[in-house]
Symmetry: C2
Subunit: 230 residues, 2 copies
């Protein structure tokens, strides 16, 4: 199948033409996201209170590099240079991480869980607009590396032991979402082809609104699972 | 095969009885070594001058976690708790890393190459004293993850561009070796079963001396490959 043409069998999200540039953009932002996820998990691993916790996070970080490799291989198949494909996204993703540096083990877990889940929900929606083989790849690299249940368990236990922690972490999560929105808007404003992909894929601006609604609802549910108010 | 009995087919390094405790010690120190190697490579990745260099180091870090898992699985087979098996070695290994924190990308590469190679040579020697299945495992986790040739290439290119770098890195490498010796002696002084394994395995104290000679010779050769005087 030509990567130039994306056909979805799921109406109403049918896109008949999708430029290869938008696919390269998407693979690029995902790849750089994996590389920074590796970094962040590796950094958080060092804050772990136990060697077992540290090894658990380091193992998840390692899994991200497996995803990274799949994305780079796919970019190479499309004759795209991975480094070039990632470059438009390094500044906004780095800004997000620099302005939301966790200062505790629990903040790191909440950031990884809330942030990765939000991003994954968004990419899963976008995957619906892609050709079959790219969609399959995107869905596979979004597979949870075991981090979610680990984070939920640790955060719930900490709140149970000290309920005051819950309030502070809820504020932290709100700050994360705000910062993620700021940087996403920045990316989409600068990358016309990604904006077009979103609007064409969802049908129209109202479709984009519904997509954001679905993502927000899922986020609220996850906050509840952590024991936090959203 | 019982893990309590180690038989080597390679004379004169034949050991007929090897306590399970020494094997658990060895797997424990290797496992914690892999976990810190992950950390160190992940940290160094952040100093990389290019995204490609950063991804290369992060990929190597990820490979260390694969080794870590193999060692923990083996410890579990021996009914040993990985966390407990690692605990006698966390302080000396952490001390080594704390006192040899690289301040540049090149120092990080030299440390990883020189340090990992020294450790690998030592463990390969010790592997000769182990039962077949443990020896095979130890040799497999010592397999180079591609770091060596990457480090040699980068360091040689840097020295070619600015020969003064060579002198500074040679001093750095000497400091690394000194610190590694200090911490190894500390470990062996505290773990009687490891000291016994070494002496019984090599035959006598003269055998230990020959082992150290082989390791030092290999180190000198590697320094030459990097373009550094040892």
């Amino acid at each position: 199948m030509s990567p130039l043409v994306g056909e979805s069998t799921l109406p109403p999200r049918k896109v008949t033409t999708l430029t290869q540039n938008a696919v390269i953009d998407l693979l690029g932002v995902l790849a750089y996201g994996e590389l920074t996820a590796f970094d962040r998990l590796a950094e958080d691993a060092r804050m772990a209170p136990t060697t077992a916790g540290r090894a658990a996070l380091a193992t998840m970080a390692a899994a991200e590099m497996g995803h990274y490799k799949l994305l780079c291989d796919r970019l190479a198949e499309l004759d795209a240079d991975p480094e070039k494909a990632m470059s438009p996204f390094t500044a906004p993703i780095d800004s997000f991480h620099d302005s939301t540096r966790p200062s505790t083990w629990l903040e790191g877990l909440v950031k990884a869980y809330v942030g990765d889940s939000l991003a994954a929900d968004f990419y899963r929606e976008v995957a619906n607009f892609l050709d079959d083989s790219t969609r399959t790849l995107v869905l596979s690299v979004l597979a949870d590396t075991g981090h979610a249940s680990f984070a939920v368990r640790e955060v719930r236990a900490a709140i149970l032991a000290d309920p005051a922690i819950g309030g502070r972490l809820a504020l932290w999560a709100r700050r994360l979402v705000g910062e993620a929105m700021t940087q996403s808007q920045r990316v989409i404003a600068e990358r016309d082809q990604l904006a077009e992909l979103l609007i064409t894929g969802t049908g129209d601006l109202a479709g984009v609104g519904e997509l954001l609604n679905r993502i927000t609802t899922a986020h609220t549910e996850r906050m509840g699972q952590l024991g936090l108010s959203s």
